[in-house]
C-alpha cells in the first residue's frame, strides 16, 4: 500500500499518521478485512516512533475504521472505505469552517438545517 504524508502539515504526528492511513483506506489502498502493516513496520517506514503510530491507529479504531484483533493484528473494518472517505470530508469541512470563522457548533447547526 502507498501512504501519502503531508510534509507541510503542522498537526501533531499521531494525527498525521492517522490521516495518512485514513486516506489510504478512502482511496482503496487497503480494503475491508485487509491486514494493516504492523505498527513497528509503519513506524520504520514513516520514521515515526512506534508509540506515536499506535496512538494514531487507536484513534482510527475509535472512529470505527480499524479493528484490533489478538493474533491477527490490525485489520480494516467492514465498510471502512466509505466511512473513511466521509470522515475525510468532515475533517476538511471542520478545517474550512475554522478558517472562515465558524465553530463546530455552527457547523452542526448548518448540518441540521441542511436537507
Amino acid at each position: 500500500m502507498l501512504l501519502r504524508l503531508n510534509i507541510a502539515d503542522n498537526r501533531p504526528l499521531h494525527e498525521q499518521v492517522a490521516g495518512a492511513v485514513r486516506r489510504a483506506i478512502a482511496e482503496g489502498e487497503c480494503g475491508p478485512g485487509d491486514r494493516l502493516p504492523s505498527a513497528r513496520e509503519l513506524s520504520q517506514a514513516l520514521g515515526v516512533n512506534a508509540n506515536t503510530v499506535l496512538r494514531g491507529l487507536r484513534a482510527l479504531r475509535d472512529e470505527g475504521l480499524l479493528e484490533f484483533r489478538r493474533g491477527r493484528g490490525v485489520t480494516v473494518a467492514g465498510g471502512a472505505d466509505g466511512r473513511s472517505a466521509l470522515l475525510e470530508r468532515v475533517r476538511e469541512l471542520v478545517a474550512d469552517g475554522a478558517r472562515l470563522g465558524y465553530g463546530r457548533a455552527d457547523l452542526i447547526e448548518m448540518i441540521k438545517e441542511a436537507q
Binding site: 500500500m1 502507498l2 501519502r4 503531508n6 502493516p37 504492523s38 513496520e41 509503519l42 517506514a45
Partner: protein
C-alpha cells in the same frame, strides 16, 4: 542467437568429422585415457570417440538454450565447454595418428594443458562480455510516478507462503523430537541432529514471509515473521526498478533463490519487484510491484537530479 547456432554447429562438426577424416592412421581402438606419466591406459572404438563428445555437446547446448535461469551464463559456458571438447578431441586424434595399436599412442600432456588454459580463458572472456551487455542494455527502464511538492510517500507490501511456514514448523518439530526419541543411540551427541535441524527450521521460517518498504532512504526487505534479517538498498545506489512476472520454475524453486536472473525471493509466482543496484539484480514477489517500482524510480531519480 545466430552466433550461438553457428558456434554450436561448428563445434559439433569438428567433434563428429575430425576422427573419421583421420581414420587411416588409426587401428580398431583409439586411446582415450592416459595415466599421470603420459601412458595410454584406456581405449574406445572410433564410433564412441565420435558419438560421446557429440552427445555431451548436444545436451549442453540444449540445456544452455532452453534453461532460462541459466541465460546469463549461456555464452561463457558454451564458449568454454566448446573449446574444451574440441581441444580434447584434437588431442586424442593427434595422439592416435599413425599408431595402429592404441597402447603405442603418444602422450597428450601438452594438449591437455593447452586445452584447459584455453577453455578457462574463453570462459572468462564470455563472462566479461555477458556481464557488460547485461548492465548497459537495461538502463533507464521502469515506471515512474509524480510526487507532488510537499508530499512524502512510502510504499509497503508483504507476502507470505504458508507451505514454507508449514515446512519450517515440521522441521522444528523434528528438531525438538529428535532428542526425545533418542535418534542415533545414546552414544551419539543429540545436538549433532538437533542443531542442524533447528538451523534449517529457522532458515526456512526466515524465507517464508517477506515485507518490503520503499521510503526516501531506499528499499528495505525484511525477512521472516520477526522482520529480521533485513536487506537494505540505498536510494542513491538503485539504477532502476520495475515489475516483472516470474515463476518458481524460472528461478529454481521457492524461497531465497540465486539464479541467472540474480537473487529472487520467490514466495508465489507472478508479479515481482525487480531492482538493479550496483550491477546486481534483486527480485521479490510482492503484490502491487508496479507502483513500488515507480516510487523507487522516482525517489532514485529525484536524488540524482539534486546532486
Amino acid at each position: 542467437m545466430w552466433g550461438t547456432a553457428a558456434w554450436a554447429a561448428g563445434i559439433l562438426a569438428l567433434l563428429v568429422l575430425l576422427p573419421p577424416a583421420a581414420r587411416k592412421g588409426f587401428g580398431e581402438q583409439l586411446a582415450t585415457h592416459w595415466n599421470a606419466s603420459g601412458e595410454p591406459n584406456g581405449s574406445q572404438p572410433l564410433w564412441a570417440v565420435v558419438l560421446v563428445p557429440a552427445a555431451i555437446w548436444i545436451v549442453l547446448v540444449a540445456v544452455a538454450v532452453f534453461w532460462r535461469a541459466a541465460r546469463r551464463w549461456r555464452g561463457a559456458v558454451l564458449v568454454s565447454c566448446g573449446v574444451l571438447l574440441a581441444g580434447v578431441q584434437v588431442s586424442i586424434v593427434r595422439a592416435n595418428l599413425s599408431h595402429t595399436d592404441w597402447h603405442d599412442a603418444d602422450p597428450v600432456t601438452v594438449g591437455a594443458v593447452v586445452t584447459v588454459v584455453a577453455a578457462v580463458a574463453a570462459g572468462l572472456v564470455g563472462v566479461l562480455m555477458s556481464g557488460r551487455r547485461a548492465s548497459s542494455a537495461a538502463r533507464g527502464q521502469g515506471p515512474r510516478m509524480d510526487i507532488p511538492a510537499g508530499e512524502r510517500r512510502v510504499w509497503l507490501a508483504s507476502t507470505g507462503n504458508r507451505w514454507l511456514y508449514l515446512l519450517a514448523a515440521v522441521i522444528g518439530v523434528g528438531a525438538s523430537a529428535a532428542p526425545l526419541i533418542g535418534f542415533g543411540g545414546p552414544a551419539a551427541p543429540m545436538w549433532l541432529l538437533t542443531v542442524p535441524l533447528l538451523f534449517a527450521s529457522v532458515s526456512v521460517l526466515a524465507c517464508s514471509s517477506v515485507s518490503v518498504r520503499v521510503t526516501e532512504r531506499g528499499m528495505d526487505v525484511a525477512f521472516g515473521p520477526l522482520g529480521w534479517p533485513v536487506r537494505r538498498w540505498d536510494a542513491a545506489d538503485i539504477e532502476w526498478a520495475r515489475a516483472e512476472n516470474r515463476t518458481p520454475a524460472q528461478v529454481g524453486g521457492w524461497g531465497y533463490r540465486l539464479s541467472g536472473l540474480g537473487t529472487t525471493v520467490m514466495l508465489r509466482s507472478g508479479a515481482c519487484l525487480v531492482v538493479r543496484a550496483k550491477g546486481k539484480d534483486f527480485a521479490v514477489s510482492v503484490d502491487d510491484a508496479e507502483r513500488g517500482a515507480a516510487l523507487l524510480n522516482s525517489l532514485a531519480g529525484a536524488r540524482t537530479e539534486q546532486h
